[in-house]
């Protein structure tokens, strides 16, 4: 297991290097001079010449790539000229908001999607199954940005139940501990702040989670259906175990590996979905910052965020791989 983990970590290094190469090529194939792009519009020709020398843009291309790579490894992406702060500082400030949103979305998708899938997988072609199937199709076909706008329109606009944008009511939250406002307020025992944070979180999280919910429901259903015909399930039934035990201990546990895989695969979609959902709900995470940066061509910020998003995705896939062994002891990593 340890050997596998080490091998797997080493395996991600060439991928990350190639990713940085791809981003580097994209950055350099952008129309216009990189120095002009990397500086703000007010830069004088003298500034540009100076910046060229400073960033080594007069050097050969492989030297430039080497510089880009070595500063990327040190998490140095320069300073965003929109926010006038280093990209790393901005990432650290904004990252908890994205994490909170993503976790809440996954939670909603798993809590609703998995039981619904198990339920319909255990009773194929009943009304439960048909209803879940419709839910599944709606879930996978729903454009999340439209659903977000409709939620704002109906729940925030018409009924005025929940706030439509932002993350907190001004002045409500207290001290930051983890940066996840709901968790922070619970740690402090401040229920008023908790409800406030939750009220902002619900709509974006539902919007972001709905696609994953649909997919999870469908995958769980077919995984349960597959496992239901295995011999050990028949054996468990023949032993006279209660149907509930057969279902959850023998069937669902074995379907879990498929479910985890899909959650892992879907995390990528969730990450890119968060870019759109954060924009719709003005959620102050890294996704809305990326779009704000795009509109002003803030290249250091875009480069840093693209690399950060990809690194997160690669890391998550790595964690999922490691998780397999914990769930299914039959999977052995040491060849």
């Amino acid at each position: 297991m340890l050997g596998y983990t080490v091998r797997r970590i080493l395996g991600t290094i060439p991928v990350m290097v190639l990713i940085s190469l791809l981003v580097f090529v994209l950055l350099h194939s952008a129309p216009g001079d990189p120095a002009e792009m990397l500086l703000s519009d007010e830069a004088t020709p003298q500034d540009i010449a100076e910046a060229k020398a400073r960033w080594g843009l007069d050097q050969p291309i492989y030297v430039q790539y080497w510089r880009f790579l070595s500063s990327a490894i040190q998490f140095d992406f320069g300073e965003s000229f929109r926010y006038r702060e280093t990209v790393v500082d901005l990432l650290i400030q904004r990252f908890p908001a994205t994490i909170e949103l993503a976790l809440a979305a996954i939670l909603i998708a798993v809590i609703i999607g998995v039981p619904l899938g198990v339920w319909s997988g255990a009773r194929p072609n009943t009304w439960v199954d048909n209803v879940s199937s419709v839910v599944g199709f709606f879930g996978i076909s729903m454009p999340s940005f439209w659903m977000g706008i409709m939620l704002i329109l109906i729940i925030a606009g018409f009924f005025n139940w929940l706030p439509s944008a932002g993350r907190e009511t001004f002045g409500v939250p207290g001290e930051r501990i983890t940066g996840l406002y709901t968790v922070d307020s619970l740690i402090r025992g401040d229920m008023r702040a908790f409800w406030d944070a939750l009220s902002y979180l619900i709509m974006p999280a539902v919007t972001l989670g709905v696609n994953m919910l649909g997919i999870l429901m469908r995958v769980t259903r077919s995984a349960v259906l597959d496992v239901m015909h295995e011999d050990y399930v028949t054996t468990a039934r023949a032993k006279g175990l209660a149907e509930r035990v057969v279902l959850w201990r023998h069937t669902v546990r074995n379907a879990l590996i498929t479910i985890i895989t899909v959650v892992g695969l879907e995390l990528g979609t969730l990450l890119s979905g968060s870019i759109i959902v954060e924009t719709v709900f003005a959620w102050p995470g890294i996704g809305s910052m990326l779009i704000a940066g795009l509109n002003v061509r803030d290249y250091p910020l875009i480069t840093g965020l693209v690399l950060a998003y990809t690194a997160i995705f690669v890391f998550v896939n790595f964690v999922i791989d490691i998780c397999y062994g914990a769930i299914d002891p039959r999977i052995r990593f040491d060849r």
Partner: protein, 307 residues
């Protein structure tokens, strides 16, 4: 109604077990047929709307009448059945023309992705060795980007335009084709008909084109249907973020972006284009699901169509 016969009663009792496969299959079959009909119906309607847009649209989608801006829908009375937007353009007409834009972009993207993906997959699986290694490394790197993020990065760095939008949408969409085709080719190249072709002196290129590719088309078609749904959503997402086609072309995504701006006063701006995207994607997904169940149920577990 006649009382049920002993035979039918026993079938009814045996149903919780797998005792009535024929009944199960019948119900399953009916559901499949419904899925197929519904999906094909929606997609067919969409294609007709897209082709006949100039005949069906009551107004010019570009015609601005500022005095007529933000008019509420007149569902039965007209003249603007779905209302007008902030520039006084007729929303129904724009949705009809938007179908055309969405379909053309999605079909083109899916075909280009399919050609690249199936081609590379077949080459990768057939030749193996360093060719395979190189192509699979490329797959691994491109797939390491969260979906849509690579597309956003491409547009961010290379600028906007129809061509770049296509490149951005293809950038990751060829990968599912490539993976499945490679896997299939690995087993196909060991088959007798390939050995026979080689024994007859056929060159590699001819074997791939005449003997391998035809066997890859069926799975590619299923993948293509789902890729089409995701391409429509991606295109709409990018247009929504202001990264899509030039603003004068009516697309559902950019209409939705306008709708978001005017959400507090005019709900119809956001409702109808979103509904159009949703119904379209739902139809394509239904059709794809039915096609997959009919053509190749094994694809189900590979998570195809997830992205």
């Amino acid at each position: 109604m006649a009382p049920s016969t002993p035979a039918s009663a026993s079938i009814a009792e045996g149903r919780p077990l797998a005792a009535a496969p024929s009944a199960w299959r019948k119900r399953f079959g009916r559901f499949l047929k419904l899925k197929f009909l519904l999906g094909a119906g929606i997609v067919g309607l969409l294609v007709i709307v897209g082709i006949a847009a100039p005949i069906l649209a009551p107004y010019d989608p570009q015609a601005q009448t500022l005095t007529n801006a933000l008019k509420a829908p007149g569902f039965f009375t007209g003249p603007n059945f779905f209302g007008t937007d902030h520039l006084g353009r007729d929303i129904l007409s724009r949705i009809i023309y938007g179908a055309r834009v969405s379909l053309i972009i999605a079909v083109t993207v899916v075909i280009i992705s399919g050609v690249i993906g199936v081609g590379l997959g077949a080459v990768s699986g057939y030749f193996g060795g360093s060719t395979d290694f190189g192509i699979q490394k490329l797959v691994e790197v491109v797939w390491a980007f969260p979906p849509l993020l690579l597309a956003i990065a491409i547009i961010a760095f290379l600028g906007q335009g129809l061509g770049i939008l296509m490149i951005a949408l293809v950038s990751q969409r060829w990968i599912p084709y490539c993976r499945v085709s490679r896997g299939q080719t690995l087993s196909l190249r060991e088959r007798d008909f390939v050995t026979a072709a080689r024994a007859l002196g056929a060159r590699d290129g001819r074997i791939i084109v005449r003997h391998i590719l035809p066997n890859l088309l069926q799975a590619a078609m299923v993948i293509g249907t789902f890729a089409m749904a995701s391409a429509i959503i991606s295109e709409a997402s990018l247009s929504f973020l202001g990264l899509g086609v030039p603003p004068e072309i009516p697309t559902w995504g950019s209409m939705l972006a306008d709708g978001r701006t005017h959400i507090s006063t005019s709900w119809w701006l956001a409702l109808f284009p979103g509904l159009a995207i949703f119904i379209t994607v739902l139809g394509i997904n239904l059709l794809g699901d039915a096609l997959r169940d009919m053509l190749d149920p094994r694809l189900k577990r590979t998570g195809m169509g997830v992205r």
